[in-house]
Amino acid sequence: MCESCGCNVTSGNAHLVEADGPLARTADGSTAVEVLEGLLAANDRAAAHNRAHLARHGVVAVNLMSAPGSGKTALLEATIEALAGELAIAVIEGDLATERDATRIRARGVPAVQIATGSACHLDAHLVHEALHRLDLEGLDLLFIENVGNLVCPAGFDLGQHRSVVLLSATEGDDKPAKYPVMFRAADLVLLSKADLIPVLDDFDPAAAERHLRALASGAPVWPVSARTGEGMERWLGWLRALVRG
């Protein structure tokens, strides 16, 4: 699709032709070719291309990930409301096959593109690239990508984002980082969402969640936030503002 937009992403396999290394005969008479390339190399290249798109327009992109129902869309709604008139925001919605979440975002006066993920369990850089071309990036400050609700797959796929934020809601249990290390290691920031529920859930200990995260050798901040009451919103908004200012 890049031929049509003129921005020229490397075509699916072109790179692979150059990816072979020295040749060597093996004992069985076949030829062994050294490749040494990541299995997600095609995705990573598309992600780099997305980053170039964003850079050209001075847009910062945040990849929001969590289990289903952890409050990604609710956080986006509250964030959009709080930053109205201050930052120009757009949203790429990958969370549902329906237009439901995109409709919720558009109701706040912000452009939203819904990616029809169907039964897919994660977004990849190619899907995000298509969505980028359906958005007017000019004049935008901040692009949120709401990933598919899933704590496993999305972590493996770079989308071209500048930061990854993982939500862990109070109802999910504070040991989630220990159970999904690949996902939580990818987080630049962990938000303990639905923080308004922490006082009534006596088995959710924010300090334990942070301990589990540190055991993954991650120094990412762990901040409670509630889209419902507004608790913790100022700190989160401050993080976003600093990110946009660069």
């Binding site: 032709v17 072979d20 040749l23 490749v35 040494l36 990541g38 095609a42 990849d124 055991a215 050798a217």
Partner: protein, 125 residues
Amino acid sequence: MHELTVCRALIGQVEAVARAHGARTVTRIELRVGPLSGVVPELLREAFALARAGTVAEGAELRLVEVPLEVECESCGTRGPAAAPNRLLCPACGGWRTRLVSGDELLLVRVALAGITPAEEGAHV
């Protein structure tokens, strides 16, 4: 999980290498997979059995080399094995400020090709 997606990408890479060398078949594919790669080796094998059907890799053997978890401590400088994917602490001082040295690899290392048409070997370079 996305092992099938990963395997389809792998087949694409392998096909390109085979094509570039004018090879008719791929006899062996060697991957390096770490515990923090996000893919499960057994699932990868199952997915590979599906993904290779009807491709140049139809009869290929899949060799998975599982790499160990290794960290380097930013506090004391020790480099050594980590206890588990969710315990990446320094093996010497127990500190959490470590850097992963190995363990998140998901790498196509090498491919063995057969049935190469001599004229085409290296012709792509």
